[in-house]
Symmetry: C2
Subunit: 343 residues, 2 copies
C-alpha cells in the first residue's frame, strides 16, 4: 500500500526490499577509493567489445546478470524492468535488454536515473503492479565525451568545474518481500532551472533541484537532515555540493555532518585528475549498488536518503543559448534492522 | 487495486479515468484527414518561437495547458507527470515542464511514449501513488529530421518505406475517479529485435514487437482481437501494419476487420507525400488525444486496444551496424458506458 504525502512524496506502507544489487566499473573506478565495493571491474575501456557504446551495454548486461545471480533469479522472474542511460536514444538500455523477455519501461532522467527507477520500481511493487522489479543504468566516460563534448583525440581542455563521467553500471533488484534494505518512501522531483548556462558546471545547475527535492521530502515526512545517518546526492561534485549546503544554510539548516555526494566519493580528486568529481548515470548507480547498499546490509548505515541528480540539457539546448534544467529524485532506504522508523 | 496477470500484463481493478486530453498539431496535420479532431493547429512550423526545437516544447506547453483547462485543473493538481520525447536528452519534455512545480518522471520509449506513460500513470493511480497524473509527449518533423537524418536544406531523398515524423503533441490527464474513458489494463512490452537494419524501414523493425505485445496481452486476458472495436498501433505505417497482420495470420488469427495504425490514419498517403505514413512520439499521441478519445467519449468506439510502438535505435547504433530493437506497450481503454467488461 502507498500513502500520498502530497507534492510528489509517497510513503511505502509495505516497504519494498532491495534483494540484490551489482556494481560494474572501469579502469578509473578500479583506481578509486571505492574500488573494493564493486562486484566487477575491468581495465579494458571497451570491455572486450568493438566500441565504447557496446562496452556500456556490456556493463549493463554484467550488472543485470550479476544482480540476478546473487538471488538465483532468472530474467523471467522480473515482472518489470526500469532502465535508462545517457547515450542518445538510451541505446545502452534498449540493446542490453533486447530479446530477454523482460517487460521494459524506458526512463530518461539523466544522471538521476537510478533514483528515478527506484521510485518507480518501489511504486510498482508497493502498488501491486510487480512482485519483482529491476532498475538498471550506466554511463561510459569515453562514449559520453564524444557524444556530449568532443572526440577524445581532440584533447579538449577541461574547466575546473567540469566533472568526469563514471564508467560503470549499477543494477538493483527489488521485491515485495525478503531480506535486505528497504524503501520507506520517496519524493519525485520537480524540474528546477535557476538560469545556469555553463554546460561545464552541471553541479551548479543541479544543486537547486537537489535543494528543492530534499526540502520537500523533509517537509512531507516531517524529518530533519539529522534523522538520517547519511544524505547523498548523485553527482553534484565539489561545486554543486558546496552550493547545496549554502542553500540549506539560508534556511538555518546545517547538513555538513550527514551530507556527502557520490561524485566526490567515487574518485580521489587529489590524485585522479577528475576536477570537480564524478558524474553520469553510472556515478550514483555504482556508489549505491556497490558501496552504499553494502553498508546498509552491514548496518553501518541505517537510514539513507539517496538523491539522484540530473542535468536535463542537451548539446542542442546549450547551442541555442538555453540554461540547464535540473531534477532530483529522493528515496529513503533503511537497513533491515530498522523496523520502527515510521517516517 | 492492481491484479498481476503475468509477464508484464496488469489489470486495473478500479480503472483510472482519462479525465481530459488535448492534441496540438502543425501544418501537415492540419491538412490531413484527422484535422477536425485536433484542439490546436498552427501552420507556423516554429509555433512563433525561434527554432523547431523550441516549437516542439511550445506544442507540449499548449497541450498540457489545454488538457488542464478543460477540467479547470492547475499544475499543482498533478501528483505526477510522465513525459518524454524524441529529441536528444528529451529536452522538449524537460524544458516544457521546468519551473512548473510538477513532479516529473522522464520517459524514453521512442514513439511508444504515450502508451508507456499511460501504463505508468495507470499503475501510479491504481496503485495509490497518485490521484491525478498526466502523460505528455511530442515530436516535430523538422527537429527530428535534422537530429536523426539530414538537415532539411540537404534535400535528401526519402525511400518508399520511410515515414514522416508527425509535428504534434498530445497530453492526457488521468484521475482515480470522474467521467471519461477508463483504463482497464495494460501489457508492458519486451524489447524485440528480429534483425532489421534499415533505419528507413522502422515499421518492419517494430512490427515483431507489436505482435509480441498484442499476443501476450490477448493471452494474459483471454481475449481475441474481435473482442475489441478497434486495435491501433502507433506508427507501423503501411509496411509494418501489413507485416503485423501477416504475423497474426501465421497463428490463424485475422485482424483486418478491427486493426488500424495511427501512422496510416493521420495523413492521406495519396495526396500528402508521406510515403509509408506518419511516425514519431507525436503520432500516436495526437491520434489518441484527439481522434480516438473523442470517439471513446462519444461511444462510437467502446473497446480500444491502444498499442504504442517504438524503434529504439540511434544514429550511432545504425552507424555501428546494429539492427533495430523495437518495443510496444498496449493499453485497453473503454468508453464510460462499458461497465461490465471484466477482462
Amino acid at each position: 500500500m502507498i500513502q500520498r504525502m502530497g507534492a510528489g512524496s509517497i510513503r511505502f506502507c509495505d516497504p519494498p526490499v532491495i534483494l540484490s544489487s551489482c556494481a560494474v566499473g572501469g579502469k578509473k573506478e578500479a583506481e578509486g577509493p571505492l574500488a573494493d565495493a564493486f562486484d566487477i571491474l575491468n581495465k579494458d575501456t571497451r570491455f572486450g567489445t568493438g566500441s565504447w557504446e557496446k562496452a556500456e551495454r556490456k556493463m549493463q548486461q554484467l550488472a543485470l546478470d550479476g544482480a540476478l545471480q546473487k538471488q538465483r533469479l532468472n530474467y523471467s522472474d522480473l515482472d518489470l524492468m526500469f532502465a535508462g542511460d545517457l547515450l542518445n536514444q538510451c541505446i545502452s538500455s534498449s540493446f542490453s535488454l533486447r530479446d530477454k523477455g523482460i517487460p521494459v519501461l524506458g526512463l530518461y532522467g539523466a544522471c538521476s536515473t537510478m533514483a528515478e527507477g527506484l521510485c518507480l520500481a518501489g511504486m510498482s511493487i508497493a502498488g501491486g503492479a510487480a512482485q519483482t522489479a529491476g532498475v538498471l543504468t550506466s554511463s561510459h566516460f569515453a562514449a559520453s565525451e564524444r557524444q556530449y563534448r568532443f572526440p577524445l583525440n581532440y584533447g579538449g581542455q577541461r574547466t575546473p568545474t567540469a566533472q568526469w563521467t563514471v564508467t560503470g553500471s549499477g543494477c538493483a533488484i527489488l521485491g515485495s518481500a525478503g531480506d535486505g534494505p528497504r524503501l520507506m518512501g520517496c519524493t519525485v522531483g520537480n524540474i528546477v532551472d535557476m538560469g545556469i548556462k555553463d554546460a561545464n558546471n552541471m553541479g551548479a545547475a543541479m544543486a537547486p533541484a537537489a535543494y528543492d527535492t530534499i526540502r520537500r521530502h523533509m517537509d512531507a515526512f516531517s524529518l530533519a537532515p539529522e534523522d538520517y545517518d547519511l544524505i547523498v546526492t548523485g553527482d553534484l561534485g565539489d561545486v554543486g555540493a558546496e552550493l547545496l549546503q549554502i542553500l540549506f544554510r539560508r534556511d538555518g539548516v546545517e547538513t555538513a555532518s550527514v551530507y556527502r555526494d557520490c561524485g566526490t566519493m567515487i574518485f580521489d580528486r587529489q590524485t585522479q585528475d577528475v576536477h570537480a568529481g564524478g558524474s553520469g548515470c553510472g556515478c550514483s548507480a555504482v556508489v549505491l549498488c556497490g558501496h552504499l547498499l553494502k553498508e546498509l546490509r552491514r548496518g553501518s548505515i541505517k537510514k539513507l536518503l539517496f538523491c539522484g541528480t540530473g542535468a536535463m540539457l542537451s548539446p542542442t539546448s546549450t547551442q541555442q543559448g538555453e540554461s540547464i534544467p535540473g531534477v532530483c529524485h529522493a528515496v529513503t532506504i533503511v537497513s533491515q534492522e530498522v523496523r520502527e522508523w515510521t517516517m
